[in-house]
């Protein structure tokens, strides 16, 4: 048995089946030049990625806040729909959700590609953000609600004044994490013809036979954008810590 498998792994035809080494096409200087000269031309695509992500996150925050609050409600008719939503959305891939919105429901309505992507990102991140809010709300000491109630506040007022400000602060690191995931996930919009970073890289790369170089270019763009996000979230954290 062992003898047999080693033999198969080492056979040259099997290696050829996996990889195809072709060093003659590679020139370090040419590649570097392509990367540097083409880098700035991606600013427009970068802007689209940023717009897509921001709109998706904003939408996701709204949905997440709504479903997060429903999820911690004591009323079953509020809690169960939120549970179902989170179950459905977290249990299926974003790409599938995107296809359903852009291609799937065309028999009922047709949504243009950009809004489709924003909706998909919003719905998808909304489920995760709802869970982040739920966790943050439930992590607040029960005594806080009791103290607020003992002052005569209604439950809604206590949520608004006492629980949510604390929960929000506690949610910031996880929200930041989710925003960065959303930024990277926005690349899936390339599959529905949105000229964001990844699609532009493939277009330019394929026309000029510099695909690898362009993939590196957008990798750098993504790194810049994620670093920007990380920085902003850090600032927000510091701001809330000192206030």
């Amino acid at each position: 048995m062992e003898f047999l498998s080693t033999n198969i792994l080492l056979s040259s035809s099997f290696i050829d089946w996996i990889v195809n080494i072709n060093p003659s096409l590679f020139s370090m200087g040419e590649s570097l030049k392509a990367i540097i000269t083409r880098f700035p031309t991606f600013w427009k695509a970068g802007l689209i990625t940023l717009q897509l992500t921001s709109a998706g996150i904003l939408f996701g925050l709204l949905i997440g806040l709504l479903f997060g609050l429903m999820r911690v409600s004591e009323i079953k008719f509020m809690r169960y729909p939120a549970k179902a939503y989170i179950f459905l959305i977290r249990g299926t891939p974003l790409l599938l959700q995107l296809f359903i919105i852009y291609y799937g429901i065309t028999s009922i309505i047709t949504i243009r590609s950009f809004p489709s992507a924003v909706i998909a990102l919003g719905i998808h991140n909304g489920a995760y953000i709802a869970e982040i809010f739920r966790g943050a709300i439930q992590s607040i000491d029960k005594g806080q609600m009791e103290a607020a109630r003992s002052l005569g506040m209604s439950k809604t007022k206590a949520m608004e004044r006492i629980i949510m400000p604390q929960a929000f602060k506690r949610a910031i690191p996880s929200l930041g994490n989710q925003f960065i995931i959303a930024l990277k996930d926005s690349s899936l919009a390339s599959t529905i013809t949105i000229s964001e970073l990844l699609l532009r890289a493939r277009q330019i790369g394929n026309t000029h036979f510099i695909l690898m170089e362009m993939l590196i270019v957008v990798a750098i763009w993504y790194l810049i954008l994620t670093s920007l996000f990380t920085y902003l979230i850090h600032r927000l954290e510091v701001h809330f810590k000192t206030s």
């Binding site: 000491d141 005594g143 806080q144 003992s150 002052l151 005569g152």
Partner: protein, 243 residues
């Protein structure tokens, strides 16, 4: 002024309160003592509906029976101040904001007036100079004094204290007990769960001993501490005197 009749409370199958009767007159200070698990906290929590007592239990204030509906409960809570073992101050607000929150949000008091009243209350508990501090910067004793000021900010008719000093370092107990004794002297109606004997002896008009969900004995501090009649009370008092 406050009348508890046949207060019962079950947690599932566990019968925690088995029909407590207690009458507290205006300006009276009642101290409740009793072994751990006897239901002291549950009784206080039932009084301001942080727990809902079983059907058949009756709580009335100034002859008016409090029903289990929102309006009654919120009205009752405004009239009943509660001080918790673990302070439950609002950590995202300054000391002064903690003391202004109830009046501004629940009683819709003007900010200026609430601030003025807040400063006065903080003076009363000896913490006016800390009004801009956040709770996490205070010692336990200071936190509890702010919590007392916060409860007083609603101008309650009755104050409930649930072991207000048992989470404090021994050297900080005195400052809190002193504030409570001052309140008692001013004629505040108080129900206090505490094992601080000297507060009971100094300030209490009446001491109630709870055991296993019932008040098994009540009387003046002298009667209870010097010559308890029931065997359970004798056993329990021996223990706390030894400690």
């Amino acid at each position: 002024m406050i009348l508890l009749e046949n207060i019962k409370k079950n947690f599932g199958k566990l019968k925690v309160l088995k029909g407590v009767d207690l009458k507290v007159d205006e300006g009276e200070v009642v101290v409740i003592i009793g072994p751990s698990g006897s239901g002291k906290s549950t009784l206080l929590r039932c009084i301001n509906f942080l727990e809902t007592a079983e059907k058949g239990s009756r709580i009335s204030i100034d002859g008016k029976v409090i029903h289990r509906q929102k309006n009654d409960i919120n009205m009752l809570r405004r009239n009943v101040g509660m001080v918790f073992q673990h302070f439950n101050l609002f950590p995202h607000m300054t000391v002064l904001q903690n003391v202004m929150e109830g009046p501004t949000q629940v009683l819709h008091m003007k900010k200026d007036k609430a601030r003025k009243q807040g400063i006065e209350l903080l003076e009363k508990v000896g913490l006016a100079d800390k009004h801009n501090a956040y709770p996490q910067m205070l010692s336990g004793g200071q936190k509890q004094r702010v919590a007392i000021a916060r409860a007083l900010s609603m101008n309650p008719q009755i104050m409930l204290f649930d072991e207000p000093t048992s989470a404090l370092d021994p050297e900080l107990v005195g400052e809190v007990i002193e504030v409570m004794a001052d309140l008692a002297r001013e004629g505040m109606t108080m129900i206090v769960v505490t094992h601080e004997m000297w507060f009971a002896k100094e300030a209490a008009d009446r001491v109630c001993v709870m055991d296993d969900g019932l008040i098994i004995e009540e009387g003046t501090p002298e009667q209870i501490f010097d010559s308890p009649t029931t065997e359970r009370a004798q056993q329990f008092l021996q223990k706390i005197v030894v400690n």
